[in-house]
């Protein structure tokens, strides 16, 4: 089919009637005639129906709430296939329970079409191999990361959820807790592939696995040997060639051959203190002397604390600078002196008026990017910080450090003016992970970034900046210091804020279906500049404020 079909194409009109159930007998006969006699019309039908089916699958799979966010789903059509999860029910009667875990894992994913694998860089056209895994289901959490330089594009921070896929470190140490209860420390340089909650593959690097009773059977695979843990703790160290050592710190492990065709599966068992070294030829010898144990979780925690203290000091320097920035209209650093204070003070020295101090409604005090930093938690639909920003601004820069816990609805407020009146800006996020700046000019204009937030960005601190630049006539969205999209402003107008809310919205007369826009997450720094910040300044702000190395 080469020519582009138009909406008045007869075949399309007939298929539409067919889909709507309004097709007459004559039309049905005509459609059948077309499909029988003309392969091109048949192809058009197939292509069109595949779009129709694809949209149906997409709509049903993308609205499934992520399963780590409590959410009640009303099943309007229990008989309808909602997601691959139905397969679980289908098979549970057929297959032994041992399979269910892998089934849930293989099939129970929530395919956000745009979610890219956490770290594995897979170009969109790369054919997946037969054992490739769905990439959006979190099977682990990155709980600690110290001195890490990743060997991938995504810079993961502690707190990030991890899907199945590769973790590649040039240097540094991370702690990963799998949802089975097993936890592993990985010391770089290393490449480890998380396969399932009970299985990981180590290409090279040093790994220390702690396996509680609930996760017995956790297996660390290598190209030559699989280490099956039967309780507590072991270390594994592998060089780039695949030779290495295994040692049991406490408890018992079994070594299995990766090639169960030729050798018995279980090569040998090791108990506390015992170890082996093996090479590429598959030779396995008992270790004569203990290998140096890897860093342990306690040591890692201490390193994390030292790192956090250094980062917090770096932020404090920047904080002092921002307080004296003459262009800042409102600067909330959330560093209030006590927990019973219900005022979020504007810390800018040039404070235009005391109305720019925020009134905290509902939000609870909590920790921010570091344990010693304070922040506010926005949870309930009533939680908000009310403020009033006087004046008119040719250009504006919005800046926030935020930790999104979940997208409860289509829109989540970062800062919205009461109602939506001429000149009002609306800064918010969509549940797809788009950043949006809306400006009320006549009908209102929304500048949408592409989808930049992935499921893996939930639960980690992110740095959002949006610039409305009157001079350059453009809106630019930034994530973590980097511009993600540029938009032309057709007719720049001066912006006015007036009464507004951080993390929520007072819709006034706008009572449509999207009037609830409360944020689900934490904020620990928020600023409004009365000018357009440059890309360099924004990158600098990110560098001094980021909560990881």
């Amino acid at each position: 089919m080469n020519q582009k079909p138009t909406p008045d194409n007869q075949t399309i009109l007939l298929i539409d009637a067919f889909l709507q159930g309004t097709i007459s007998d004559e039309q049905q006969a005509e459609l059948e005639q077309l499909l029988t006699s003309d392969p091109e019309q048949r192809q058009l039908y197939i292509d069109y129906m595949q779009v129709h089916n694809g949209l149906s699958t997409w709509a049903n799979e993308t609205t499934e709430p992520a399963d780590w966010i409590p959410h009640s789903v009303s099943e309007a059509h229990p008989s309808r296939l909602r997601s691959p999860r139905f397969l679980l029910m289908l098979f549970s009667s057929l297959i032994a329970a041992s399979l269910l875990l892998s089934l849930a894992y293989y099939v129970g994913w929530n395919t956000r079409p745009n979610s890219s694998p956490v770290i594995a860089e897979s170009p969109i056209d790369q054919p997946a191999d037969e054992t490739s895994q769905p990439q959006t289901d979190h099977i682990a959490l990155l709980t600690q990361a110290v001195g890490v330089e990743w060997d991938t594009n995504r810079n993961l921070q502690a707190g990030a959820g991890l899907s199945a896929g590769w973790l590649k470190l040039k240097q540094g140490t991370i702690q990963v807790e799998l949802i089975s209860g097993a936890s592993i420390l990985i010391e770089g340089p290393a490449a480890v592939n998380l396969i399932s909650p009970l299985k990981a593959f180590c290409q090279f690097g040093k790994v220390r696995a702690s396996v509680p009773e609930q996760a017995h059977g956790f297996t660390m695979e290598t190209s030559k040997l699989n280490v099956v843990d039967l309780g507590t703790e072991f270390t594994l160290s592998l060089d780039q060639s695949g030779s290495g050592q295994v040692q049991v710190i406490d408890g018992k492990v079994e070594l299995h051959s990766t090639d169960s065709q030729t050798t018995p599966a279980n090569i040998q068992s090791l108990t506390t203190g015992e170890g082996v070294q093996f090479d590429q030829q598959g030779t396995v010898d008992l270790l004569k002397e203990a290998i140096l144990p890897l860093i342990n979780p306690e040591e890692l925690s201490q390193l994390v604390e030292q790192q956090q203290a250094r980062q917090f000091q770096r932020w404090q320097k920047q904080n002092a600078t921002l307080k004296t920035d003459p262009s800042i209209i409102a600067y909330y650093d959330f560093e209030e002196t006590s927990n019973w204070l219900r005022t979020l003070n504007n810390k800018s020295r040039q404070k235009p008026s005391s109305s720019t101090n925020g009134a905290i409604v509902g939000c609870q005090w909590t920790s921010g990017r570091w344990p010693q930093k304070r922040g506010l938690e926005f949870k309930r639909t009533s939680d908000r910080v009310r403020t009033h920003i006087p004046g008119e601004y040719q250009s504006l820069t919005f800046m926030a450090w935020v930790r999104i816990e979940g997208f409860d609805r289509w829109l989540s407020s970062l800062m919205l003016t009461d109602g939506y009146n001429p000149g009002n800006p609306h800064w918010q996020l969509s549940d797809k992970g788009e950043m949006i700046l809306g400006v009320k000019t006549g009908p209102g204009k929304n500048y949408f970034s592409p989808v930049v937030l992935q499921p893996t960005d939930l639960g980690r601190w992110i740095f959002l900046v949006t610039v409305y630049d009157h001079q350059k006539r453009e809106v630019v969205h930034y994530l973590d210091g980097v511009a993600v999209s540029h938009h032309t402003i057709d007719t720049p107008i001066p912006l006015v804020i007036g009464p507004a809310e951080i993390g929520n919205w007072r819709p006034q007369e706008h009572t449509d279906t999207h009037s609830i826009r409360s944020l689900n997450g934490r904020l620990d720094e928020f600023a409004l500049f009365g000018r357009a910040l440059s890309p360099d300044e924004i990158l600098q702000l990110y560098q001094s404020g980021k909560p990881n190395s």
Binding site: V51, P113, P127
Partner: protein, 175 residues
């Protein structure tokens, strides 16, 4: 990687489920029919799993079985709905089976094209296709007539189809 056979089945089905569901959907345009047949097909696939020959493609094996399930389904259905004749079913199925090897790639392009739509259109698609709301309810919410909404959906389908064609022939997807 040595997988125990049933694990392999599950992973293959997980990977191809939307492709198989899509194939059935071109033969049975009514969503609920297609869902029922898809469930039935999964059961049959599992029952016949032992006879699956690993040298052949899983998707064409599965679509072959799905095709017979569609025909069985139509045979026992009452004739109160418009269904296609067996002859047309065979023609549609045969025409698709030649393109099965590319199906996964096409699905990725489809996802890519859905993402390229503006947020408002995506929201509309989600509301209409998700099944929680009837078309009439969505029409009321968005202040359109049902007819206008059907036309809008039709235009969106065409737009995505057009995007898929262009993407397929461009370097955008790096193929």
């Amino acid at each position: 990687m040595n997988q125990i056979p049933h694990e392999q089945f599950v992973s293959l089905l997980a990977r191809h489920h939307s492709l198989i569901r899509g194939f059935i959907g071109t033969l049975l345009p009514h969503q609920n029919d297609a869902d029922d047949v898809f469930q039935q097909t999964c059961l049959v696939l599992w029952r016949k799993w032992d006879s699956f020959d690993e040298t052949q493609s899983f998707s064409s094996w599965a679509c072959g079985i799905a095709f017979y399930e569609v025909k069985n389904f139509q045979r026992v259905q009452s004739r109160d709905r418009h269904y296609f004749s067996d002859e047309i079913l065979s023609l549609i199925a045969a025409q698709q089976s030649t393109a099965l090897p590319e199906a996964e790639h096409r699905q990725r392009i489809l996802q890519h094209c859905i993402q390229k739509l503006d947020a408002e259109s995506r929201k509309l698609i989600q509301d209409c296709y998700h099944g929680d709301l009837s078309i009439k309810e969505v029409a009321e919410q968005t202040g359109r007539s049902c007819d206008a909404l059907y036309k809008k959906l039709s235009r969106l389908r065409l737009r995505i189809m057009d995007c898929m064609q262009q993407t397929h022939h461009s370097a955008e997807m790096g193929s």
